[in-house]
Amino acid sequence: MKKKYFWIGLSLLNLCVVTLLGAVLRSKAIFNLPFIDYNHLLNAHGHFAFGGWVTLVLMVLMVSAFLTESQMNKSIYQFVFICVFASTWGLLVTLPFAGYAALSSYLSTFFIFITYLFSWVFIKDICNVKVSKTVMVLSISALVCLVLSSAGSFTLAYLFAVKSLNAIIYRDALFSYLHLQYNGFFTLAVFALFVHKLENKISEEARKKLHQFSVLLVVSILPSMFLSYHWHNPSVLFQIIAIIGSILLLLSLGWFIAVLRTIKNEYKSISPLLKVAGVISFGAFMLKMFLQSFTIIDYLGNLVFGDRPIIMGFLHLVFLCFVSLFILAYITNAGFLNKEKLITRLSLLVFATGVVLNEVLLWMQGIGAVFIQSSDLFPWLLWGAGICLFAGALLILIAYVQSMPYRKGIIEKNIIIPITEIRHFTSG
């Protein structure tokens, strides 16, 4: 695709901004920073992480990995990426100062309509491409979830507009949105990329297992959304769907473990650093599925939903550990970063350390809240983890810029090697 290196570079710049905002938020808990409104900045941090980093990078990767050369060069995709980039930067500039004012509401509405446009065009294109059924199911479902999640945002926007934060609607809308984004769009898109990368190298049997897992995962999404409504104790029907959702989550987790066992050999050949990132990422995915299915137990659900560090821990488990580390490992493996260079390895190491440190601290703090155990050091350690994440993201960006000659080398090499190899490098 034209300019795919450019868009991945901008996504990595956006990741830097996300981690910088995170570090500033952590600073606000310790230092006196009266000029910063925590909640406005938190909104900016969240919106930018969703739109500017993960949505943009997943869109670019899906287009460049799945579509044919002529499809991915359509100017409509460039238009979508420009709009995503511009609207998320617009939100970044307006949200910290004005909160949900007129301009930021227009921008986020515009962003949502751009995701509709992308989904429509992409789904139409992927139907005409020779990708496996598994990739097709995963990527189309991912985009359907992305579109559905906007119902949650519109409900929230409405509640803010009328200044009514009704407990039940507010939390249901928020949790539905987060569920469809995290467990829907992000997770399915990640697996679409993973399956696409892997399926040509594995046995027929492993491919079949992978397909069954993917279908189970897709089927589990809507029923498991009802786990989020479970806390306000609704009707028996809701309870039954939530229980089905919980069982489906455990089933797909079981299938995933079976898949991992059959593809063990494939995993051995990749470099140690990417292996570590992969282990953390898929470990986080399995932990997520396990924890999510257990919120069916009322006692645990109630405990978790009021415990801010645990909520933060869960959100960052999916966002940083699972999704972000996977994407970074994926783009490194695909040759966007020169993995032979010291700075690439160092940057990924620093970022992964920050991710793990952040997660361990939040869970310790969250579980400590249950037993009324804490330490004065937590805010400082969390601040350190935030700085570590920012430093990692900054180093990754520097490594990306420095890998430019390496990427040029790949492109030139492609001209003389067989056509299948070109597909492998450029789409991989």
Partner: protein, 154 residues
């Protein structure tokens, strides 16, 4: 190609115009009215706490327990200064609210946020809804003592 690109822009701008147009304003339903002036009625909040017996001097055991609750359950959102984090800073809270209001809010958070005007106003200012922390009356009393110490009460 060019045509498709232009039509895409046209469709998008249409969406924006439709969405942002003046008649798309959501209907306004029951905005919270401003709180009743403090002098006319004392706002003790809603809940089981009707009156609190304050001790002078402060109770050190309660302060200790209140502090450990603060450090585990409260401090992720509330600072001890007057600076707002997720929720309001605690400095001066014992002067702004009655002890009964504070304890009721800590124990009966959801009901207060749905029906108490002051609580609702704070929620709108903070654009965040405080989740229920499952505190007992005793826990809340300990936290109140810790707040009094934080405000320099004797």
């Amino acid at each position: 190609m060019q045509k498709k690109f232009l039509s895409a822009i046209a469709i998008c701008s249409l969406f924006v115009i439709v969405e942002c147009g003046p008649d798309k304003q959501p209907p306004v339903i029951e905005k919270p009215t401003p709180p009743v002036a403090a002098e006319s009625t004392v706002d003790n909040g809603i809940g089981t706490i009707k009156s609190v017996q304050l001790t002078h001097p402060l109770d050190e055991t309660m302060i200790g327990k209140g502090e450990s609750i603060y450090k585990t359950k409260c401090f992720a959102c509330h600072k001890l200064t007057d600076e707002k984090l997720v929720g309001p800073g605690w400095k001066g809270v014992t002067d702004r609210r009655t002890p009964e209001w504070i304890m009721n809010f800590a124990i009966n958070t959801d009901v207060m946020l749905d029906s108490n005007l002051v609580a609702q106003q704070l929620m709108v200012v903070c654009i965040a809804r405080m989740p229920n922390q499952n505190l007992t009356a005793e826990d809340a009393r300990n936290v109140l003592e810790y707040m009094r110490k934080n405000d320099g009460k004797k």
